[in-house]
């Protein structure tokens, strides 16, 4: 019995979630919407799995050939019949839909991502914590991007049509001077940040990473590639004297590079998006109406255009994650990381490991789709405009 449940736990979890959502949706419009979104997310995941799995078929070679090739390096004589037998044993002689069906069944029943040929173990084991590492990289890069881009994007939109000098006759001369200074500062920081952000768009991530490494080389310092320096790599996190702070220090000294590199491009793009969103909102009639009512200055901006541009921004978190992960493999290659993105590139370009590559891509899509699902339902709960549009009042 326990064995049966441990073999099919994920399916029960999914069914339970779906069932409880369905139950709640009988007399709540909001949960009806959530239930619909849940079903749509599942359908999207299913189509992602089809696309990913069939795309990976273009990679040359298959598991049986690789296993046999490995054996032949061990000095065994191999015939075509051996390859065919091995293929039949691994189930690779089945047509694509059957193999996809098996893969998806294993996935939905117990979260089994398949078998990695090059690692000769299950994908779940081969990936291990590496996916979480990549995930944390992307999240940290995104957080960096948002922390910089949101305030400065708003600032940039704010100073867009402002003059450099405050000429308002209603203000006293001291206030005018202060305003002018403030405006000048804001304008200059806006211009600088825009230049930086254009550079971020134009300079590919791998070049940025290379440049930073190059600076270290010229300075004669050890380059912060990888995750740890040699002396800390084999040390455990905890020893007799408790937590090893030195290891954490070393880790942080290395980890900032990938986060900074992927964060910069994301910041550049985010800055443009925030600016465009706020500018768009600030030219709408309700802002004019508020201004006519006498709301002015910071409270006008914070309450009207900024508040309204937060929801589309929040809604795009999932796709931002996808964009950041998109850049990660090449950066990982340049910096010499050993996370899932590096594994993905290895599986795609070097070992042609179809199931491993498909599994990593599927996991990324899973994260994006669940983020989209969460942002959708949170927005529907929080933002009255979204609630109205999706639930018809």
């Amino acid at each position: 019995m326990i064995n049966f449940f441990s073999e099919t736990w994920l399916l029960w979890l999914l069914l339970l979630t779906g069932g409880s959502l369905f139950w709640a949706s009988r007399n709540s419009q909001y949960f009806h919407y959530v239930f619909n979104r849940f079903l749509m997310a599942l359908v999207a995941l299913l189509s992602v799995s089809i696309i990913v799995f069939s795309l990976m078929e273009v990679l040359p070679g298959d598991c049986a050939e690789k296993w046999i090739a490995y054996k032949s390096t061990q000095g065994e004589m191999i015939t075509q019949a051996d390859i065919d037998a091995e293929r039949a044993r691994m189930g690779l002689d089945q047509p694509l839909p059957v193999r996809w069906g098996e893969w998806v069944t294993g996935l939905t029943l117990k979260g089994d991502l398949g078998f990695s040929c090059s690692k000769r173990q299950s994908v779940n084991l081969a990936l291990g914590d590496r996916f979480w590492l990549s995930f944390m990289f992307c999240i940290a890069g995104l957080v960096l991007a948002y922390v910089i881009a949101v305030p400065f994007g708003i600032l940039s939109a704010y100073v867009l049509n402002k003059p450099w000098v405050d000429h308002n006759p209603q203000h006293g001369s001291l206030k005018r001077l202060l305003n002018t200074l403030g405006l000048g500062l804001a304008k200059i920081s806006d211009v600088m940040l825009r230049i930086v952000s254009y550079l971020g768009l134009a300079l590919p991530n791998f070049l940025l990473a290379l440049t930073i490494i190059l600076l270290y080389v010229f300075a004669g310092e050890p380059t912060p590639t990888g995750l740890f320096s040699d002396e800390w790599r084999s040390e455990p996190w905890f020893n007799e004297s408790g937590f090893q702070w030195g290891k954490l220090n070393d880790f942080l000294g290395h980890i900032w590079l990938p986060i900074f590199v992927i964060g910069w491009a994301a910041t550049a793009l985010q800055l443009q998006t925030v600016r465009a969103l706020v500018v768009d909102e600030s030219s709408k009639l309700y802002v004019d109406a508020a201004r006519a009512r006498g709301v002015d200055g910071l409270s006008l901006w914070a309450k009207y255009p900024v508040r309204h541009s937060i929801s589309p921004l929040f809604n795009s978190v999932g796709f931002d994650f996808q964009r950041v992960f998109n850049d990660l493999p090449i950066v990982a290659l340049v910096i010499g990381l050993t996370d899932a993105a590096a594994l993905l590139i290895e599986a795609l370009a070097m070992t042609n490991d179809q199931e491993l590559a498909a599994a990593i891509l599927f996991l990324v899509a899973l994260v994006v789709i669940s983020m989209n699902f969460i942002t959708d339902i949170v927005l529907a709960a929080v933002d009255p405009r979204v609630r109205k549009s999706v639930m018809g009042g």
């Binding site: 999207a44 696309i51 990913v52 049509n161 134009a202 998109n326 090449i330 989209n372």
Partner: protein
């Protein structure tokens, strides 16, 4: 006083009225052009971009040296950039000149190595003397007393300006903008084969741009197909196509390009075919965003009267989509395509950087950027970073022009003023 001001006001009003007429009757493109002309940053970037494109398109004319292996300077491998001067301590000259750069030929005497009894000790001595390491191979002497004057419109290697194989047209020319009296001029130095970095970069610009153009055209067609069919037919077709699009949208594209590039590497292709195959792959998989937007637009437009009129007069589905619905969205499509240029270029570079796009003998910016990975180049041949600078400038120019165009094409941007 009053009458004068009223006259002025009247004239002003009349003027704005005629301006308004021009404004309201102007076509979409005229409006975009007028708005674009007001943007200084966009205009400057556009000028720079045009200049770079022209230099890329007529690269053989602008480059002083043949970028291929035929033009490689055997006696000046790994050579430093040769500066151009108007004056020095020997006086001023109207005609710019450069000095004679002579590469020290490595004086490694392998015969002596053998004579002295050979063995590892002698080899060790040779290695530790530094004669073999990279920085000693980079040494050169400048003969400041031997000026080489620059010549313009100089006769050099022959190239074809315009060549269409199918029509048998092949216009050839052998004039170049710059050259020197003796030998070759290497404005940005040479690489380890003696190929001129400046000329290679100029040739690479057009290769990269043409990949982007092919990719964008393919992208345009794939998104028109998906968006047009999905929006026009609606219903079940729409649902299926959109769920596929949605699924494609969440998968990171570069790994997918990678998989396709690996698959392409298995097929035996000539460099040209490979080049187009990569462009087609990049374009064909990038339909999600534009396709969705087209679909939304067509969903709105398809209930309009002119579509009904076309349908009633017996137009086929394809004709309605292509001749009636898509043109109504034309300016947006073109602007979107232009905005996407830098991203496509970045995709090509990423692939080439991994060694899966174009490869070495081809001059593409990605191939040249890939060299920046080489520690030897990083430490001993910094001038090979020139393509990086050109690349960044090119993408920046595209981004600025794209930004200005996006603002210009936005019909609501007028209200911001």
């Amino acid at each position: 006083m009053l009458s004068i001001s009223s006259i002025f006001r009247g004239r002003a009003a009349r003027q704005t009225a005629s301006q308004d007429d021009a404004y309201y009757t102007a076509g979409q493109f005229a409006l975009i052009k007028a708005r674009f002309m007001k943007k200084t940053a966009g205009l400057v970037a556009g000028f720079v971009l045009l200049l770079m494109l022209l230099m890329g398109l007529f690269a053989p004319f602008f480059s002083p040296v043949d970028p291929g292996i035929d033009g490689a300077d055997e006696s000046y491998r790994r050579g430093a950039p040769q500066a151009v001067y108007f004056w020095d301590q020997n006086g001023f000259s109207w005609r710019p000149f450069t000095y004679t750069y002579v590469k020290d030929q490595p004086k490694t005497d392998f015969a002596a190595l053998l004579q002295g009894g050979g063995g590892l000790a002698a080899l060790d001595k040779l290695t530790s003397s530094g004669a073999l390491n990279a920085s000693s191979q980079n040494k050169y002497t400048v003969h400041e007393d031997q000026r080489r004057y620059l010549q313009f419109f100089v006769r050099g290697w022959e190239y074809s300006i315009l060549s269409i194989d199918t029509l048998g047209i092949d216009i050839r020319w052998d004039r170049h903008l710059v050259g020197v009296e003796q030998g070759m001029i290497h404005l940005m130095g040479t690489d380890e084969d003696g190929k001129d970095v400046f000329s290679r970069t100029l040739h690479a610009i057009w290769v990269t741009i043409s990949i982007a153009i092919v990719a964008l055209i393919v992208k345009l067609f794939s998104s028109l197909l998906v968006g047009g069919v999905s929006g026009y037919f609606g219903g079940r077709v729409d649902a299926v196509l959109m769920s596929i699009t949605e699924a494609v949208r969440v998968i990171p594209p570069i790994p997918i390009y990678l998989a396709c590039a690996v698959a392409l590497a298995q097929i035996d292709l000539t460099p040209t075919q490979r080049y187009f195959a990569i462009a087609v792959v990049i374009g064909a998989l990038d339909f999600a965003t534009l396709g969705r937007r087209l679909r939304t637009h067509i969903l709105v437009e398809r209930t309009q009267d002119y579509v009904l009129a076309a349908q009633l007069s017996g137009a086929s589905h394809m004709r309605v989509i292509w001749r009636h619905l898509v043109p109504s969205f034309g300016s947006y499509i073109i602007v979107d395509t232009l905005i996407n240029f830098p991203y496509v270029i970045l995709a090509e570079t990423s692939l080439s950087f991994l060694g899966l796009g174009l490869t070495e003998p081809v001059n593409s910016l990605g191939v040249l950027l890939q060299k920046a990975q080489d520690p030897d180049i990083q430490q001993n041949m910094v001038w090979q970073f020139f393509p990086v600078a050109v690349f960044v400038a090119l993408v920046m120019a595209f981004v600025f022009v794209g930004d200005a165009l996006r603002d210009a094409a936005d019909p609501y941007s007028e209200r911001n003023k």
